[in-house]
Amino acid sequence: MIRDLHKKIINQEITSEKLTEEYFATIEEKDPEIKAYLSFNREFALAKAAAVDKKIKNGEKVDLLAGIPCGIKDNICIEGLVTTAASKILENYVAPYDATVISKLKECDSVFLGKTNLDEFAMGASTENSAYQTTKNPHDISRVPGGTSGGSTAAVAADECVWALGSDTGGSIRQPSSFCGTVGLKPTYGMISRYGLIAMASSFDQIGPVTKTVEDAAIVLSRIAGKDRKDSTSMPTAEKNYEDLLGGANIGNLKIGVPKEFFATDGLDKRVKEKIKQAIEKYEKLGAKIVGISLPNFDHALATYYIIMPCEVSSNMARFDGIRFGQSVGAESEKTGSDYTLWDIYFKTRAKYLGREVKRRIMLGTYALSAGYYDQYYLKAQKVRALIRKEFEEAFKKVDVILGPTSPTPAFRIGEKTENPLEMYLADIYTVTANIAGIPAISVPCGTIEAGGKSLPVGMQLMGKWFDEETILNAAYIFENS
């Protein structure tokens, strides 16, 4: 899709300004219902679009992403714009700098339409934890778009942008992509700089694209990847134009691993299971070799995640203390005449401006890291994490990619799981393993399920070796185009 629009722009069949206006018109029409965006950036977007049009008129060469309208998840900082992470505590926070991914996209002349909704601080699985609004699934507005990048996936699915950036800590790009019928890529940990991404769980967080097609995901990935001195966990990567490497692979050489544990899960919806089986059959017909494998510790992945993640959350969220930025009861105390101590400011600011799920995870992490429990929880989980990584290392000696469902169910109804945090956590069961092991994974639409007169998308997940995005993109591309 990006390539076609790019051709139209450079051939001057359409101006970027006109294209941007068209997307804002769609937003005006649909977003009052879908609620994918938290804020807009109209003036800046149109100025950027006009600048791209000028470059083209002057005969300058422009990037594939130049003049293409996109959405940015609101936990990624864009200088001068309010960045809330969908939390009340950052309601008035104006980012003083650009995230590295934003600097890179600005160099490509990307047009940012606005900031998309998410679960507060990217904690959730449905975007219902946003402190501002509940995004609706464009395929059925009584259902959630998934989360936490639900604003990004809903915006792409509803044609409210061409593509969007999301972030993925336990499945937050892939699971909503599965629910909304978009392509969602979580790159290898360290592939993309996290500088300027509001941290949730630093050893899992990774930024990635939400797109309409696999090629679009490849285009975006090529432009945002790379080592950054501002993120010491980013790694030197081979500079590749992933979009030029698609379609070249010989599927006859592709070995696809299918872990038996993925299909023995109680919560796996029968209709989803059927779609995944059909996807496997399709690959087989195309000539790929299907290999049955086993990941015995799959069963421990979610528990590992729900220990390490809250531990990291409890430490990352410590910065929201009402002192240096964000909302603070201290600022109000002058108006109300309350005489707060420093201690009061910490306790009352956090109590008032952080949401329930955020507080729950801070509490859980604080407990797991507290004196006497560290070995039992955190250390144990980091050891199981090592076991899980080892299992993937072994599996990737036998196969090139691992295939399975992205989510055990299609999009669930709004309100269905909000009262039971543990049940909400189970939506991450297939996606967390990639974050635990740090490997890349992509969700690609593989059919729809009919329910109540609506067609609900289902996503299939392909996981690959560390820094081998090329193979999963190629495998996904073949599937999408056959």
Binding site: G190, R324, R360, K383, A386, L387, L422, W466
Partner: protein, 95 residues
């Protein structure tokens, strides 16, 4: 099962004010989640080294040198202070 008293202690460590009612609620919710993660005890981790960094990066260092940011960026950071006096972040007395 975490008791209310334990919950209050955790909240104290986490610097979050909670009510009696919330303490009761957290006691159930956290206990449920901890019950779920108990599963990990089944995993045999004898002799396994815990993960330090997933892709194996280590000792990433940089020059110990001040990087200057523009006055504009500095002003934007100052503007985010919840309370300020001139260009200083105003906080309550620590002692």
């Amino acid at each position: 099962m975490l008791k209310k008293e334990q919950i209050k202690k955790i909240a104290q460590l986490a610097r979050i004010e909670i009510s009696e009612e919330e303490a009761g609620k957290y006691s159930h919710e956290l206990s449920d989640i901890l019950g779920f993660v108990e599963k990990l005890n089944e995993a045999d981790t004898e002799g396994v080294e815990p993960i330090a960094h997933i892709t194996g990066a280590k000792n990433v260092i940089r020059e110990d040198k001040i990087v200057e940011y523009s006055d504009e960026t500095k002003e934007k950071m100052i503007n985010n202070f919840p309370e300020k006096k001139d260009r200083f972040d105003k906080v309550k007395a620590v002692f």
